[in-house]
């Protein structure tokens, strides 16, 4: 009732292979997030699932049926776009109702569903407005509402929050989480926002250059990244990597330590380093260090801390949280 299987999906534009054989299984009710650097193929993959893009080879199986050639409207999916893609000439209500009307749904059924969805999203006061008269957050909620009324088995989101400002983003993120819990629908979500990925996903798919690097729950990726790419990609500020002979006794090609797993001391520690720059965020403090031994390091401390540029400090990694990687950049477990 909302499962998805991708079987070695490939997609080429001309000679450029954008998706290099993607295999993925999404179970009913799961919240799956695609992350990856810009241009890695996240949107292309999502659009292939929607049927907006014809795949070059492979199969898209929804609920056990091969839907590779089915047009988007018949796949039982709904999609929310980064640009909202609201119909600018229609009111909020008609925006939500258009798809149903097109499908010949009875008028009172449409009204019922629209009012249910707009209740869920607190959109009642705006039903008669047009998109231009709404704020960004309201528009995004309408776009979500338009997806909800269709009662799809599969929701697709392509960076739905990236046009919102920080405060709204937090709020809408929570709303989506709530929605997922209450609708129990399967959701596939593209983002390049760390926080969104970590907080929303049941399962994160890390893509890189058209191929999957790792699939796992957020904490799995955070705690046990499969390779240097994933380790560097998940977590902000980025993990510190120390390579080659500075590694010490870890029997690895490269080791990685997250900034939050560094402790600083004025007296002693593993690496001596000079403070380059300090950012006070109130709740935490980020300290940029330069050490002769292993180059630039970042440390993140909880709460407020006073360090001055050019001060010499000692950084010590938390041994329980040191990640080790081999010569192929793969994690050593």
């Amino acid at each position: 009732m909302g499962s998805l299987q991708l079987k070695s999906i490939r997609k080429t534009y001309g000679t450029h292979e954008v998706l290099k054989g993607i295999d993925l299984e999404v179970k009913d009710g799961e919240f799956v997030i695609f992350v990856g650097p810009s241009g890695c193929g996240k949107s292309t993959l999502l659009r292939s699932i929607a049927g907006l893009e014809d795949v070059t080879s492979g199969a898209v199986v929804i609920n056990g049926r091969d839907e590779t050639l089915t047009p988007p409207a018949k796949r039982g999916i709904a999609m929310v776009f980064q640009s909202y893609a609201l119909y600018p000439h229609l009111t909020v209500k008609d925006n939500m109702g258009l798809g149903l009307k097109q499908a010949g749904t009875a008028k009172d059924e449409i009204d019922k569903r629209v009012s249910k969805a707009s209740g869920m999203l607190s959109l009642e006061p705006y039903l008669a407005r047009r998109p231009a008269e709404l704020s960004g957050g309201q528009r995004q909620r309408v776009a979500i509402g338009r997806a909800i009324v269709r009662e799809p088995e599969l929701f697709l989101f392509d960076e739905p929050l990236s046009n919102l400002d920080a405060a709204l983003r937090v709020q809408t993120r929570l709303e989506i989480a709530r929605l997922h819990r209450s609708l129990k629908a399967t959701m596939i979500y593209v983002t390049h926002d760390q926080v969104e990925a970590m907080t929303l996903a049941d399962k994160i798919v890390v893509l890189n250059a058209g191929a999957i690097e790792q699939i796992g729950s957020p904490m799995e990726l955070y705690n046990r990244p499969a390779n240097v790419f994933v380790a560097g990609f998940i977590g902000s500020p980025q993990m510190n990597f120390i390579a080659g002979d500075k590694v010490g006794d870890h029997s690895a090609k490269t080791i990685g330590v997250r900034p939050e797993h560094m402790t600083l001391s004025r007296e002693q520690g593993t690496w001596a380093a000079k403070v380059v720059h300090v950012e006070h965020l109130g709740a935490d403090t980020i300290i940029y260090l330069e050490s002769d031994q292993c180059g630039l390091l970042t440390a993140r401390l909880f709460g407020e801390h006073q360090y001055e540029p050019d001060e010499i400090v000692h950084a010590t990694p938390d041994q329980a949280h040191v990640h080790r990687f081999d010569a192929d950049d793969r994690a050593i477990r």
């Binding site: 080429t12 534009y13 659009r47 014809d54």
Partner: protein, 315 residues
């Protein structure tokens, strides 16, 4: 671009025929082909035929040979071509700069009454050449005397001359009338282009100390160059197809002494005949073909040489 179908030719999987494309294209293609293209092809085809012993016969390029080889045809043709070029140059040098200037003035921020000015200045463009020709003939008429009377007001009566009647000035006078009529088009297009320059770029220039004239020359003008390019090519195509105004103002013989004869009037006279002169479809079609080639050459030059070098700026 995200077409749903761009992979159609690489995917071996058979996809359904997209009938809707046919449906969308069909009405336009049918009407356009049947009513416009086929008749035009028929006309251009005529340039390869002529009457031989009272029967239409294929004569190859003989008609072109006559047009360029026979001194009279050639004289008329080159005369028309030169006049046409002058006509075009005057449009480029008068109509378009004034259009740009008016647009620049209209786009001055926070100006009141812009809508009125715009409509008023666009009004001549809306008028039929019948009206335009008639009005201007009256105004410039030495008899009715509006123009001389007005010149008299400012003490410049001696400047007045029967411009439309003198071989030296008739072409210029007619061109200026045409400029008056069509100035609305460059004005509107440039106005639109100017409005689409983001305000922040202008403000950045203000901060940079680039104001007033310098701002126009260094910032705005380069940014509306593509629009000016479009206008130039529209002017070019329009001028080489022009005919109506000269016909109404100066008659089919484009007097005085053929000094206002342009390709359009030559073609019309030849193709349809005039007074005692009988229409010569074949030679008319020959001239039409040459005109088509000239326009095509101009448009291609624009598309492949000029527009390539000109960027459309992303802001």
């Amino acid at each position: 671009m995200s077409q749903t179908d761009n992979a159609a030719d690489i995917v071996p999987i058979k996809r359904p025929v997209r009938w809707h494309i046919f449906v969308f294209m069909l009405p336009a293609v049918i009407v356009y082909s049947a009513v416009m293209v086929l008749p035009l092809i028929e006309t251009l085809r005529l340039s390869l035929y002529n009457m031989v012993d009272g029967q239409p016969a294929f004569v190859g390029l003989a008609n072109f040979k006559v047009l360029f080889g026979d001194p009279r045809w050639a004289h008329d043709f080159w005369n028309a071509l030169v006049n046409n070029l002058i006509f075009f140059v005057i449009h480029m040098c008068v109509q378009n700069p004034i259009g740009v200037a008016l647009a620049a003035l209209l786009s001055v921020p926070k100006l009141r009454g812009v809508a009125f000015y715009r409509t008023a200045m666009f009004l001549p463009t809306l008028l039929s050449f019948v009206i335009v020709g008639f009005i201007w003939k009256l105004i410039l008429s030495p008899i009715w005397g509006v123009a001389p009377w007005m010149l008299d007001l400012v003490g410049l009566k001696f400047l007045f001359a029967p411009w439309l009647g003198k071989p030296g000035s008739a072409l210029i006078a007619v061109s200026l009338i045409s400029n008056w009529q069509y100035i609305g088009i460059p004005m509107m297009l440039i106005y639109a282009a100017l409005l689409s320059i983001p305000e922040e770029v202008i403000e950045a220039a203000e901060c940079d100390g680039i104001t007033g004239w310098a701002q126009f020359w260094k910032i705005k003008l380069p940014l509306i160059l593509p629009a000016i390019g479009i206008i130039s090519i529209l002017t070019f195509v329009g001028n080489f197809n022009a005919f109506d105004l000269i016909y109404t103002v100066q008659g089919a013989l484009a007097g005085p002494d053929m000094s206002t004869d342009i390709l359009g009037t030559l073609l019309y006279r030849t193709f349809f005949g005039f007074q005692l002169q009988l229409g010569d479809r074949s030679m008319g079609a020959t001239i039409a073909t040459v005109m088509f080639l000239i326009i095509l050459a101009g448009v291609s030059l624009y598309l492949f040489v000029i527009q390539r070098r000109m960027r459309r700026y992303q802001f």
